[in-house]
Symmetry: C2
Subunit: 537 residues, 2 copies
């Protein structure tokens, strides 16, 4: 853990975290932040969080897509364990969620924003659970209490006529069946015509909505409203922004804060395109990859992507002031992270779903105001950290026991206290499912075969596919992952080692969820206690 | 598939299976049957089943213990998938059971006997499901309708005062708080004292119960009563005997049908004991292994074990006559199998929990009266078959679709029709959990580390442990598994191949249970249909 510029302690008064503000951005890359080294993008608020806490610089999500990644964050388990690998794969009803772990600790877990949680309605009904009952709602809401649930995309307003953000815009006079699309996520042509934000060519134009009515300030306001509502009850608020996720449309002035000259060159080589791995080749044929292969697309979209990030930073600044005024900075652990990144044309790809650092590595800043975390303020950690570590961290911070027969991550509290945990992991894992992407057709795969599995150590990244050769990158000599060693005979031993790491990972999944370690420890050798005698002469 | 002595067709009349009689014995080894080659044990009824159907001679269970194995039979999934690896690990509430698959096909799935099913009561309550509601009962009963549920062991009668078999015995005048123990599973000393069947030394004495009141005829009668009750409604009856499972006590005359001279020599070598694999060594220290290491124990217990099997065969004979009289032989598929075997001193071990053929290989006879199965009557199949194949077989036989995103086995119907299925498996798998056995202490393992994983091909058997070396047997040159090649350098390549088979097995577990293959096939590339456009310029 290397010391970085820090700003000292979190203020006066009793400093013990009893609340958790769990902030997530959507599709925010790890490297599009000031303190992470972006040369043009200023993010003073987020950088200030890093200065007050620990910036985990090697934090990885467990799935390269919103839904799959979030289900890992919210269950503390890998996608290969919970089975909800991709968007809209319903989570099994008996999976314990963040809220299920925190409720027994006296903490209310409330949502402001996006989760992408999909309940398993078929099973809820099959089990005879009334979806409108308290438990039915709990299961439908992914274990969160809902202050506001907004999954961000509203292409068909008839599906969510009462979605509060749409109602809000309409009440403000944004006159449309779908003001989310027609105002917040569209621009305007010279004759007042709506230019849909679904078309990336319009990304440099301002949204048709006033900045203060756009999605990021709206959800920030909701969070502040919620904090006041909750008062002195201990809480975990999940403030979950849809941005900088597409549609890539920013309101003024954020649409114009950055320009072409501030767009970093793409991370790609001709060789990557000319002799691609077959799975990469199939993904390069997707529309988003073809678009981002063009400089015009990158130069149009990326400045707006940066503007959307800066907008989040500004509103987080408002939120920090608000917390300070309420005295909440001293009793609130703040986590800032993202569900995955965005290719933006790197490696000739757009969107996500695969395993380059641009996608699977995310920001992860934790500010713990507690006195026992003073030792690490303003430091950066290079520990290999996973999204599934957050639930154990929260439980640990709040004094609970971590049920290791279900939770697959580990508490980060030792790192926050400046301690070296025992035998910390040397490999992080991520698994993807591209069964509903058209690349599957191109690759002639059955849905069950459209999977990818990543193991990443400090030095190597290895990705296995079911019907195709693996990828291997030497991150020490090739930190930008431009030279795939997946078929290089010289690296057979490295691949075998990484393959073995995947083996142990598969073998170790926590699927025996109905019996705890402690229970089994007590039950060992217990048959005679139950009157059952075998092997007795 | 080699032809064997067969007895022709299943009779006259319309021959189409619409009922399923799914018979299971408990702890019956594959090789303790006449047609399987036992030189002294006659099992004419079971042999006649083999002559009327197909005897799968390489059938394997997916866990080497009752509860774990049965949960695989009843879910059609491996233990590593469903997580209920061992006795009394509750099964997750959203697992689909045999009855859930057959009900939509208009078939009632009813239990007569043992399941060892343990409901996840904590989750049932947590989800707000009333355990006394219809769904609560369904979940508590493992998806079976209950004609009679008797898990066989009743050491503490206060736990099941109303258990029908105990009531039945009391009503017959067997005067005891626990007539199951004091009469059905105990013998009598010269002065009328109760000699508990928990003590193997008494195994050669007759039970204190009349033969017709012992457990096997009782459950057979229950099954016949049930068949009459169900009338013309299509049914799947699970007739599940507790015997020949311990306590090793048989009623007269079965206690004395066989004698010492008919006890086969143990399958073991001095070398196995002198230089054991560490996991084997730990299990050899268990009481049951120490007992069965003595000739006196084997010679006392094994004749009674054989008698209990012969008793089952005789009552199955009664049941077949009953079915014939009712005309049910022509419309009932009959399956005869077992949940696992019994070491009986082989390899210096007693009981089960490990992976030798004595444990994981089971009888599996399927008699399909349907005309399309005539081609295979009386044949033996050497196909590698698993317990999880039964549910797909039943669904297939009854005309349903097999949901491959949940079910991990394959239909055996092609084999029954004399067809060669596409790309049949070349490896069977079994996984065990010995976290509650004292061997775990001896081996200094945490509960989560007390696992074993078997892959078996036609030629090799390979067993991996988490903290100990693997076992490897060359079944062609060492069919009795006496020479462990797990640490022999000459077999490194074989072990690597078997390890890779385990890798693919772990990777392939069906955990994405909430989205079917068909759903994903239709959903592929479907974002634009939902109004979501990305990658559009």
């Amino acid at each position: 853990m290397a010391a970085a510029s820090g700003s000292g302690s979190a203020g006066s008064g009793p400093r013990t975290a009893r609340n958790i503000l769990f902030i997530m951005c959507d599709q925010l890359r790890w490297d599009y932040l000031g303190h992470a080294g972006h040369p043009y993008l200023d993010t003073p608020t987020i950088d200030a969080l890093a200065a007050r806490g620990v910036a985990f610089e090697r934090a990885f999500v467990q799935a390269p897509v919103c839904g799959g990644s979030r289900m890992c964050f919210y269950t503390g388990r890998y996608g290969t364990t919970h089975g909800s690998h991709y968007n809209n794969f319903p989570l099994r009803v008996d999976e314990w969620m963040l809220g299920d772990y925190l409720r027994p600790l006296g903490v209310r877990t409330v949502l402001s924003g996006k989760t992408h949680f999909q309940p398993d309605i078929d099973t809820i009904k099959r089990l005879g659970i009334d979806p409108e009952s308290e438990m039915g709602r709990h299961l439908r809401q992914g274990g969160f209490e809902i202050h506001e649930w907004d999954d961000g995309l509203h292409p068909d307003p008839s599906l969510n006529r009462e979605q509060p953000y749409l109602v809000y815009l309409r009440e403000l006079g944004y006159d449309s069946e779908n003001p989310w699309h027609d105002f917040a996520n569209s621009a305007e042509g010279p004759d007042g015509e709506v230019l849909s934000g679904w078309h990336m060519r319009y990304a440099r134009l301002p949204a048709r909505v006033k900045e203060e009515h756009s999605e990021t300030p709206y959800m920030t306001n909701k969070c502040m409203e919620l904090i006041d509502e909750l008062g002195e009850t201990p809480w975990c608020i999940h403030l979950s922004y849809i941005k900088p996720h597409w549609p890539y449309v920013a309101p003024a002035p954020y649409h114009a804060l950055y320009d072409n000259a501030q767009v970093l060159p793409p991370n790609r080589t001709d060789a990557e395109r000319d002799d691609p791995h077959p799975v990469m080749a199939a993904f390069m044929k997707h529309g988003e990859s073809a678009c981002f292969a063009e400089d015009e697309c990158r130069e149009t979209v990326i400045p707006t992507y940066m503007g959307l990030i800066r907008q989040i930073d500004d509103h987080l600044g408002r939120l920090m002031t608000f917390l300070e005024e309420r005295g909440r900075l001293d009793d609130t652990m703040i986590v800032f992270t993202s569900d995955h990144g965005d290719y933006l044309g790197d490696h000739w790809l757009g969107e996500k779903d695969l395993f380059h650092e641009e996608i699977v590595r995310v920001p992860m800043i934790i500010v713990d105001p507690s006195a026992d975390a003073d030792a690490t303020r303003g430091t950066r950690s290079s520990a290999l950290v996973e999204s599934i570590d957050l639930i154990p961290t929260f439980i640990d911070r709040l004094g609970g026991d971590i049920p290791t027969h279900r939770l697959e991550g580990r508490s980060l509290m030792p790192w926050l206290r400046g301690e070296q945990p025992d035998a910390w992991r040397d490999t992080v894992f991520c698994d993807g499912d591209f069964s509903v992407r058209t690349a599957r057709w191109e690759l002639e795969l059955e849905p069950v075969e459209a999977r990818g599995f990543m193991a990443r150590t400090e030095r190597y990244k290895y990705v296995e596919f079911i019907k195709h050769p693996p990828q291997l990158f030497d991150l020490e000599n090739d930190p930008h992952e431009l030279h795939d060693l997946g078929r290089d005979p010289a690296y057979a031993a490295v691949r075998a080692d990484m393959h073995e790491r995947l083996f142990r990972w598969f073998r170790g999944r926590r699927l025996r969820t109905t019996r705890s370690e402690a229970f089994l420890d007590k039950a060992t050798g217990g048959a005679p206690r139950r009157g059952i005698h075998f092997g007795v002469w």
